[in-house]
């Protein structure tokens, strides 16, 4: 407890998110707006899920702890499904916005591509989800106290921080895959994303048995990352080219009539 734990956990949980924000989002006003709007959509989905959970709790027997736990599981599942539903709704909104932007622009092309929007929306869901999950825990970690004095795990803070980092990455990857799947109508990919979200949320139910929850979650994160990388157009060739810092041969053709270089996505 204290400043060490607070700063350590904050940087573990939000370091990647903050760096991604600074390097990729903060420079472009449009992306910042997409980020904030994505956070808003996630909040609305959380609100609806909380309403459902709240109503179910109030209609049920408060004393029965097994029932309450079951309702919590139910609430978490509903929340996951609603988050994905709102991700779909955000996809629809961004598609419309993309068309609008393309109309308004001078050269008929939108200043931001759908893939970039997918990434930013995924990041926004990840950041707001991570923040909502862990900010109160971080605030408590500044104060005095002993973790796990009643027999709970003493690793609560650090595992929460690592779980949050995983959640941020997962949402980013899910965003990329989801938008691409919606765009190309690959419904199996959609179902897989929703299923992996449910599995991830379900794995956290195994806490505090951290070996069973953290390790599989990170395996899922890495595999989602690889999948998102290939979905976004990455390939081994790209990675090698990037690492070797070679200048690619430019074999694009200059179109003189419009004085424009065809823009690659």
């Amino acid at each position: 407890m204290g400043a060490t734990v607070f700063f350590g956990c904050t940087f573990v949980a939000f370091g990647p998110a903050f760096s991604l924000f600074l390097l990729t989002v903060a420079g472009d006003p449009l992306r910042v707006i997409i980020l904030v709007a994505g956070a808003f959509f996630w909040l609305v989905s959380l609100l609806l899920a909380s309403v459902i959970w709240f109503i179910s709790v109030h209609l049920s027997n408060r004393e029965d702890s097994r029932l309450q736990y079951g309702l919590l599981v139910f609430g978490a599942a509903v929340s996951v499904l609603l988050q994905e539903a709102f991700r779909f709704a955000y996809f629809k909104l961004l598609k419309k916005a993309d068309e609008g932007l393309a109309t308004l622009s001078e050269d008929g092309q939108s200043p931001i591509s759908l893939k970039q929007m997918a990434y930013v929306s995924g990041l926004s869901f990840g950041i707001i989800s991570g923040v909502f999950s862990v900010i109160n825990i971080l605030a408590d970690s500044i104060g005095p106290g002993i973790v796990g004095i009643h027999g709970d795990s003493p690793y609560y803070f650090i595992t929460s921080a690592f779980l949050t980092m995983a959640v941020v990455f997962l949402h980013t990857f899910w965003g990329v895959i989801f938008f691409d799947a919606c765009e190309r109508r690959r419904y199996w990919a959609l179902a897989l994303v929703v299923a992996s979200h449910l599995v991830t949320s379900g794995l956290t139910f195994l806490n505090p048995w951290y070996q069973a929850s953290l390790i599989p979650i990170y395996i899922i994160t890495i595999s989602m990352g690889v999948w998102a990388f290939f979905t976004a157009g990455g390939s081994l060739h790209n990675v090698l080219a990037c690492l070797s810092c070679k200048q690619e041969e430019d074999n694009r053709v200059m179109v003189y009539s419009a004085l424009q270089v065809p823009i690659e996505d």
């Binding site: 420079g27 472009d28 006003p29 449009l30 910042v32 707006i33 997409i34 904030v36 709007a37 956070a39 808003f40 909040l43 959380l46 609100l47 899920a49 909380s50 309403v51 959970w53 709240f54 736990y69 919590l72 609430g75 978490a76 929340s79 996951v80 988050q83 419309k96 916005a97 068309e99 609008g100 932007l101 109309t103 308004l104 622009s105 001078e106 050269d107 939108s110 200043p111 931001i112 707001i128 989800s129 923040v131 909502f132 999950s133 900010i135 109160n136 825990i137 605030a139 595992t159 929460s160 779980l163 949050t164 959640v167 991830t200 949320s201 956290t204 139910f205 806490n207 505090p208 004085l259």
Partner: protein, 459 residues
């Protein structure tokens, strides 16, 4: 109020933050395609307007342009291009307002969470005389409604008084009033704030140092706000006085009254700006008729402008609007006229330059593209978020939810501004979202998230 400036300032402006010391950048050359597109502009203008109305989104076509001005085409199709440019520059303006609103809220939240003084109950303002320490819920509700009625009527009276003064050109009185209120904010409230912060962190400061610090802070603030100063410094001072005012409101408004007042003032804002006989609308129209900007002391301006070339004589005849005005101060012990907080969004009518003889390269007149937001908006947004931080049982989720809600409301309002191009109130959408999110997050989401966190479950 949010004002959207499309025209550069006239030269007769004596004191205007836009003539202040800003580093000039060389304006970018006219884009080659602009001239090519000019002939089709007339036909496509209405088409684009309809399209843009239909498919407009919060994100505007601003592909990360870092320039702050665009040469205006001097052809008759300026209206269409101005619409396009308005919408194009929308994303950048949204961010130019997100940043100060966020900074103000961060200052207020940081103070509320650390300095105990602003969450202690130490009496109430004279404008909210009814106490909320009553046993029954109904009585408490009634008292808060009565407090709200008194507060809103005070604000209405003062706004009408201000409009009357403005109409009858009593500029000296208004100037004096504004100077007095900013003096109060910059010296007295800063002194109290600094004292409380020093007490919280147990730092000792001797009176000479204190006098030196407060004197410099206040004097530079007065100069920046009422006269000339670097734009960023002026913006920083406006943010600071908004935060100070919001902190005063958070401290002295009782709980339920604060929420009811927030709701009532957004309704009042809606009425005052949009109704034909609304005081703020009359104010704006009077200012537009007279071609004057309203006092820059109470508006946050995000724009930078400079004019090059032939712009001045044409734009001098144009309307410059903006205003929002907000000044609010409530001091218990001193009986002064309280100023009020009004918030509106305004947009200046953009001038359509009509000098067809200039060639494409000569149209290097810079147009100011900026948005202005009234300080009242800053204050009430910060009051909402600060109250959420102060009273939401130590929960950060509520504060963050209100913060996101306010930003989204601001974004939507700016979108409406780009579409409707007239004065719009800045409070209603943001405050509505903020209130909805506050109450729902505090009562519904918080138990859910707390229960999840206690089992270390992630959704």
């Amino acid at each position: 109020m949010i004002t959207f400036m499309n025209s550069s300032d006239s030269e007769e402006e004596a004191c205007n933050e836009r003539t202040s010391l800003i580093s000039a950048e060389s304006p970018p050359a006219a884009s080659y395609q602009d001239g090519l597109q000019a002939p089709e502009a007339a036909e496509t203008q209405t088409y684009r307007k309809r399209r843009s109305d239909g498919s407009c989104s919060p994100s505007d076509a601003d592909g990360g342009n870092s320039d702050s001005g665009l040469p205006v085409r001097d052809i008759a199709v300026d209206n269409k291009e101005e619409e396009e440019l308005t919408l194009k520059y929308g994303a950048k303006h949204v961010i130019m307002l997100f940043v100060p609103v966020t900074l103000c809220m961060i200052v207020v939240i940081a103070t509320i969470k650390s300095v105990r003084f602003y969450t202690e109950k130490n009496g109430q303002l004279i404008y909210t005389p009814f106490s909320e320490d009553t046993p029954s819920v109904g009585q408490r509700l009634l008292n808060s409604v009565l407090n709200t009625i008194i507060m809103i009527s005070v604000i209405v009276v003062m706004t009408v008084f201000l409009v009357v003064l403005y109409k009858y050109r009593c500029y000296k009185f208004i100037h004096g009033w504004l100077i007095l209120s900013s003096l109060m904010l910059l010296f007295l409230f800063t002194y109290i704030y600094l004292g409380e912060v020093l007490k919280t962190y147990n730092v000792a400061m001797d009176y000479p140092t204190l006098f030196f610090v407060i004197w410099n802070f206040g004097a530079v603030g007065m100069i920046c706000i009422h006269w000339k100063g670097p734009l960023h410094l002026q913006q920083a001072y406006l943010i600071m006085i908004s935060a100070l005012m919001a902190l005063v409101f958070i401290k002295y408004l009782p709980e339920w009254s604060a929420w009811v007042i927030l709701g009532a003032i957004s309704i009042y804002d809606l009425i005052a700006v949009l109704c034909p006989r609304g005081p703020l609308r009359m104010l704006v129209e009077t200012a537009q008729e007279r071609n004057e900007p309203i006092f820059p002391a109470l508006i946050y301006s995000s724009a930078m402008v400079w004019t090059v070339g032939m712009a001045k004589q044409d734009t001098a005849s144009r309307d410059l609007t903006q205003q929002t005005w907000d000044s609010a101060e409530d001091v218990r012990e001193i009986h002064e006229n309280p100023a009020y907080v009004e918030s509106e969004i305004f947009e200046a009518r953009s001038p359509a330059p009509t000098h067809p003889t200039t060639s494409l390269l000569e149209e290097l007149e810079e147009e100011e593209r900026g948005v202005k937001l009234g300080l009242g908006d800053f204050i009430f947004y910060s009051v909402l978020v600060g109250k959420a931080a102060a009273t939401a049982s130590g929960d950060w989720n509520t504060t963050l939810a209100c913060f996101v809600a306010i930003l989204i409301g601001l974004c939507l309002t700016l979108l409406l501004l780009a579409v409707f191009k007239k004065a719009l109130p800045a409070l209603p959408i943001s405050i509505t979202f903020g209130l909805v999110f506050y109450f729902s997050t505090d009562n519904l989401v918080r138990p859910f998230m707390d229960t999840l966190a206690s089992h270390q479950l992630y959704i």
